[in-house]
Amino acid sequence: MEPGRPDRDTVSQLRRGVLEYCVLALLRDDERYAVDLVHALSGVDGMVTSEGTLYPLLSRLRRDGMLESSWRESPSGPPRRYYRVSRAGRSALERFSAEWSRFRSSVDGVLEGRV
């Protein structure tokens, strides 16, 4: 095993785990169309390495009932798919947010030697 590998794997698994909640959070207040959402996510540092891989995630969230989507005509160019968070998605996001802040401060505590 090459040195450096495990770190990157750990980080990419962590990222994979939290990414879907970041999608839900970005849609919390507003609906967005796909490209807008994808660009917003990839603009967050260290979040997404390739934008295309977000589309499978979006389909999964849609199929799991976390997101709803509809196609709408765009003022310029082809129709766009808009996403918004469903009721189930909203409550999943709330649960995760609570869990996350607990988890984050625990990990920080351990890493900084406060335990």
């Binding site: 495990p6 794997d9 750990t10 990419s12 499978p56």
Partner: protein
């Protein structure tokens, strides 16, 4: 209609995507392609420059990466050449030599029973070359015996045979010999090539993230 370099890049990208998606269910193939196409349509509006197209494609990531994410979503095992796939390929190649006919047939049964390959891969694995190296050996033996049968050389002494045949039958036979040699080389190379192809196809696209996936978590 003239295609710009940018359009060609997008076209190639989508074709590569199709190829990478081959083993996905039809529904997700269609949806993923529609999503990516809509993304590109939306990102690249009104006559984008080639640099803009390249940039958009870079940001999307490689088709293989995207398809890998889709595979994960579907809970599809990343097809990987494990011991079973390796054994299948070995049996296809030399099974017929180890155990005439039976060895290769077992390889074919394993090949068609596996989910690591598409139907196209399986057809290639079966018919290039039927019997694997046993098939090659059989074809070569038949070829040599039939061509030496037609030789006009009266005393086919082992070492002198080839030389004698060439001298006896002249130009047209030289062409035949060249064709036969080419065919023999093709028969020798083809099984190996199709075996390597199968091993490569059974593995997910090369990607830095793969190889050592921690089993913990």
């Amino acid at each position: 209609m003239q295609t710009t370099p940018g359009e060609r890049l997008v076209h190639d990208y989508l074709r590569q995507l199709e190829r990478a998606m081959r083993d996905l269910p039809r529904g997700s193939r269609r949806e993923l392609r529609a999503d990516i196409e809509a993304h590109l349509d939306d990102t690249l509006r009104s006559d984008p420059s080639e640099a803009q197209v390249r940039d958009a494609l870079d940001r999307l990531g490689t088709p293989e990466e995207i398809v890998e994410a889709e595979r994960e979503r579907l809970g599809m095992r990343p097809a990987k050449a494990g011991w079973r796939e390796t054994a299948t390929v070995i049996l296809l190649l030399i099974g017929g030599l180890l155990l005439p006919l039976v060895g290769w047939v077992v390889g074919v049964v394993l090949l068609w029973g596996s989910r690591a390959w598409t139907v196209r891969d399986k057809l290639i694995g079966t018919f290039v070359v039927p019997g694997g190296y046993a098939g090659t050996a059989l074809a070569l033996t038949l070829g040599v015996s039939s061509s030496s049968g037609s030789s006009s050389c009266p005393t086919p002494l082992d070492g002198a045979r080839a030389v004698c045949r060439q001298q006896a039958s002249g130009g047209s036979s030289t062409v035949t010999t060249i064709l036969l040699v080419a065919l023999a080389i093709a028969l020798l190379v083809a099984p190996l090539a199709s075996g390597l192809y199968l091993l490569r196809r059974a593995r997910p696209a090369p990607d830095a993230g793969h190889g050592a996936v921690p089993s913990a978590i």
